[in-house]
Amino acid sequence: MSALWQVFQLIWRDQRTPLLRGAALGVVVLLAGVALLGVSGWFITAAAAAGLAGVGASFDVFRPSASVRFLALGRTAARYGERLLTHDATLRAFATLRVRLLQGYLRAPYDRLSRLRGPQMLNRLTADIDALDGLPLRLILPLIAGIATQLLTFAVLWALLGLAIAATLALGFIGGGAVVLIWAGKAGYAPSRRAELAAQAFRSRLIDLVQARGDLAVYGQLAVQKAAVLAADHRRQTARLAQDRIERRAGFVLSCLGTGLATAALVLGMVLAQSGQLSPALAATGFFAALALSETAAPLRRAVAELGRMSLAARRVVEGLSAPGLQTEQSHTGQNHTATSLRFDAVTYHRFGAARPSLPPLSFTLNPGETLALAGPSGAGKSTALLLAAGLLPATSGAIWLGNHPLPDWDEAALRAHLTLIPQRAALMAGSIRQTLTLSSPDATDAALWAALNAVALDQVIRAKGGLDFQLGPRGAGLSGGESRRLSIARALLRAPAILLLDEPTEGLDTATAREVLHGIRRHLPRAAILTASHRPVELDWADIVLRLT
């Protein structure tokens, strides 16, 4: 629940003015509805009384009928404006939330980032946020408008009809409505939460079934997985049915409450009219107003029954937003750092809970124009050393110096401007070759793009495919493994980093191409300090210094 409140505060802070206006219009809509029915009921009954009394000709018909028209048109316009304002404000706030979540993911620590599952992240950014639209639109704003309308109507009815009718209606609607809605909220919380969890289980199990269909079939698990997917949907439907039943029951009780209070207003009005304390027309007004007041509580039932689902979504969104960023994020001292060298000073890395360190103490100094290759068997810590140098993992002990400043003093932007890592599994995205390359350097000219492609011996391949406008499919489809590898290197070269970190840069390339690419990299960045994690002889030959890790 506190997560729901936090999300609402975020929305509120982002869109305070339109939401306030929307809430005000919401009150206008409800009040106009009450006034419309009240005035027309009064008008008809009063007109009938005047007609019966034979004084019809002197009855002022114009003011009541004009106000009926005004209220009807005003309500329509106010409702249109209210819906437009509140929906637009909510969608705007959600767009902001989505961007902030994505930024949160971009800052997430490497350990967490590498284990995030794509479909789940996508769920956070889309379904979870969508699930929250009921919070402002169907819960908080209607609640505010409903209570305000009840209180204002109470004051007006008290003045017109006396305390008995006004208090009966106000207490009945606010008290009764609160009891029903709180009950529905509590009773519906668990099923709506279950339904949401089951829906997500359904989704992720179905994705597993489709993506690992072959594996599952061979290991005789396809039938099991199918049953698990169907079971998740069954659980979801059962929970949804329970939630819907609660929502309908709340609707039934609210409907009965509305009829009951309208009846009460009618009875009180009739009694007061019989005793002459109230004119028949005013007695009718109370009844008609009560009919309209039902509108204040009825729309809330759905939102209340959805609280479980919404708070689940809210908790995940808040979690995503408050995920800890990198330590470099907080630093403001490094704005103007420049660096051309990298130094490791007895750096170790020990993954929490692991039996042995992922990287035993490592020291070296890498100067501009030098190429240093870290060699050693798989698991010796080559990739870990690169991740440490790129600031993706915090060193357990020792210090990494970038120029004259320790690595943690660098802020993210400055660090990325000076140092680029090409990870082992570099990822490409759908889009043209030009878009792929300019992701890292938006201002690069076509000549610069071709130069980078030339450095990695890819220019002819791309030219044959149709040049820089050649479109890559999803995840860079359309290129072979080796071509993708070279394209990701070209993308990094365009940033002209002072320090370039390469994790097995020529994996998947034949030896001749590998040699061409390696020399192309050096030719393109003659002054860069280059650190590689390598096991191929061609890479080790190319390096100035080879450091063996064991």
């Binding site: 249109y80 599952r117 069954h234 009718a284």
Partner: protein, 550 residues
């Protein structure tokens, strides 16, 4: 969308809803009945209020009748809503079951993302349509006609007002409905493209960050999110505008009735009714009826928007249904191993791959023998492995396994003795323990030790309880590959099918994997290995070279 495909889609939608027709009919009947109660309630209140004007004895029985009928109306609505909801659930859960059943019985299909979106989210858009549209239609059939008749009975003028203003509503509804459908198609397209964009970005998060492109990507995402907001608002604006227009028409109608009734009651108008002047009871009665004359039409038009969304889903559904199937042999369920030695004999296999007919060489492999399939990419190595696992059916030729033809009856039993190493590991959204053993008991340690993965697994945050990213994120490519081998080892197979087990691995890791494979062969397991790796192929008893396709 042309008119013709529009009608085709409407037919698809009707087909999807067919199983729920019975329930929906009852929902429509109950909902219609509930709406018919209002005129009776209105008559009771009108006479009770009119009684006040004539100083007769208060009609308490009418008041009590009003309250009781109100309760009955709420009850009928409650039932109708329940029936409509379960009808909607039946539609969505049957569609989901159809998706899961078909996807589990074929070897290829739509990508997981769009499929999950269709099954998990889009189908839910049918719920509001199914549960609201039919009851609203039920009400439209009876309520306006009955109220029209009642109005003509009391006053022909009011009847004429209804008769003129009523039909305007469906006309406007249709006009606006078309605009709404176009807008919601644009919105659906925008949602799709935003999702695609996100999937790509989320997949490449680390690269984006390393290239310092975080801000640029966040900005372009913000623009895309804002475009989606604009499209969504376009849909909503049409919806809000249409309901405002309908409300306006209804309000004008009600105001005309109120003014006519008021003037009549005052005796200022001498026409339009049969009793002159109109009696007070009739006047109040007509006023209470007026809004209810328009309400069903407004409900139907609101449901019209749900219909637009449902049609979009139906179009997706039709597209999914139209896909051609490549069925999987057997159920993919656990089964007893086939009796007899695990010999394999392949004769005259041909498979249609898109436009190309792939012919595969004949061979026989005795139990315990090892075989390498060598050949360039696209020569059919993976296809042959999939045929041998019964994941694909040949268009011609036969596979005999353990002396029996490989078919629907024998496939599960055959696969019970198979091990499988796919080229791209996929990890289920479950613990590593489940991913390796699929819930079967037993000690995983020997299978992990055989591929030197014990230490790596121990250094994961929760060891065997860790949930990996779907592609094995958190591990290197070689480590993920070794895990799929240890999964195969754990199932103690008679035959292991491995697709490129050493591709993209460094020499040392490749040697570890090769050693693991050879150790398995020592135990009497047959190996069939698709590979480019000549060194690995040389270790096998036999080599088959597949010809490149022309």
């Amino acid at each position: 969308m042309t008119r013709q495909t529009d009608q085709a889609t409407a037919k698809v939608l009707a087909g999807m809803i067919a199983p729920a027709q019975d329930k929906l009919r009852w929902a429509a009947i109950l909902s219609g009945l509930a709406a018919l109660i209002w005129p009776a309630q209105a008559a009771l209140v009108a006479t009770a209020l009119a009684g006040l004007l004539t100083d007769a004895r208060p009609l308490w029985s009418h008041v009590a009748g009003f309250a009781l009928l109100g309760g009955l109306r709420a009850l009928l609505n409650h039932w109708a809503e329940g029936l409509a909801f379960t009808a909607g659930q039946r539609v969505t859960s049957q569609c989901r079951a159809a998706i899961v059943t078909r996807e589990a019985a074929r070897s290829d299909g739509l990508a997981a993302g769009p499929l999950a979106a269709l099954a998990a989210e889009k189908l839910d858009a049918l719920l509001p349509y199914v549960s609201r549209y039919a009851p609203a239609r039920g009400r439209v059939m009876v309520v306006p006609l009955l109220i029209l008749a009642l109005a003509f009975w009391q006053s022909w003028t009011v009847g004429v007002i209804f008769l003129i203003t009523g039909p305007l509503i469906p006309v406007f509804m249709a006009l606006i409905g078309w605009a709404a459908q176009a807008a919601s198609q644009r919105q659906m397209a925008e949602i799709g493209s935003l999702n695609d964009l996100l999937v790509e970005r989320l997949h490449a998060l680390l690269d984006i960050r390393l290239l310092g492109a975080g801000e640029a990507v966040a900005t372009s995402f913000a623009e895309a999110a804002d475009r989606l907001r604009a499209q969504t608002m376009a849909v909503l604006r049409v919806a809000f505008l249409s309901s405002a227009v309908l409300e306006l028409f209804a309000a004008i109608g009600v105001a005309m009735v109120a003014v006519y009734v008021g003037f009549s009651l005052l005796g200022l108008l001498g026409f339009g009714s049969y009793a002159t002047p109109l009696t007070p009871a009739a006047g109040i009665f007509l006023l209470l009826l007026a809004p209810e004359f328009y309400q069903p039409l407004r409900d139907l038009s609101a449901a019209w928007h749900d219909r637009a969304a449902a049609l979009a889903v139906a179009a997706d559904w039709a597209e999914w249904q139209a896909q051609s199937d490549t069925p999987l042999l057997g159920q993919g369920a656990a089964a007893a191993r086939l009796a007899g030695r695990a010999d394999i004999a392949v004769t005259g296999l041909q498979v249609q791959l898109g436009p190309r007919l792939l012919s595969l060489p004949d061979f026989q492999l005795g139990a315990g023998q090892t075989l390498a399939l060598l050949g360039p990419s696209g020569s059919g190595k993976t296809t042959l492995l999939r045929l041998l696992a019964g994941m694909l059916q040949p268009d011609a030729g036969q596979i005999h396994v353990a002396g029996q033809p490989l078919n629907d009856q024998t496939a599960d039993g055959w696969r019970a003795g198979l091990g499988w190493m796919p080229q791209q590991p996929h990890f289920l959204n479950a613990s590593l323990r489940h991913n390796l053993g699929f819930g079967r008991g037993g000690d995983l340690a020997p299978a992990l030790a055989a591929v030197s993965m014990q230490e790596v697994v121990a250094s994961l945050p929760q060891g065997l309880g860790t949930r990996l990213g779907e592609g094995g994120g958190g591990l290197s490519g070689g480590e993920a590959r070794r895990l799929t081998l240890s999964r195969a080892l754990f199932s103690r197979p008679d035959v292991l099918l491995a697709d490129e087990p050493t591709a993209d691995l460094d020499a040392l890791t490749a040697a570890t994997v090769t050693a693991g494979l050879m150790a398995l062969a020592e135990t009497g397991c047959s190996l069939i290995i698709a590979t480019h790796d000549e060194a690995l192929a040389a270790r096998m008893d036999r080599v088959i070279r597949l010809e490149p396709l022309v």
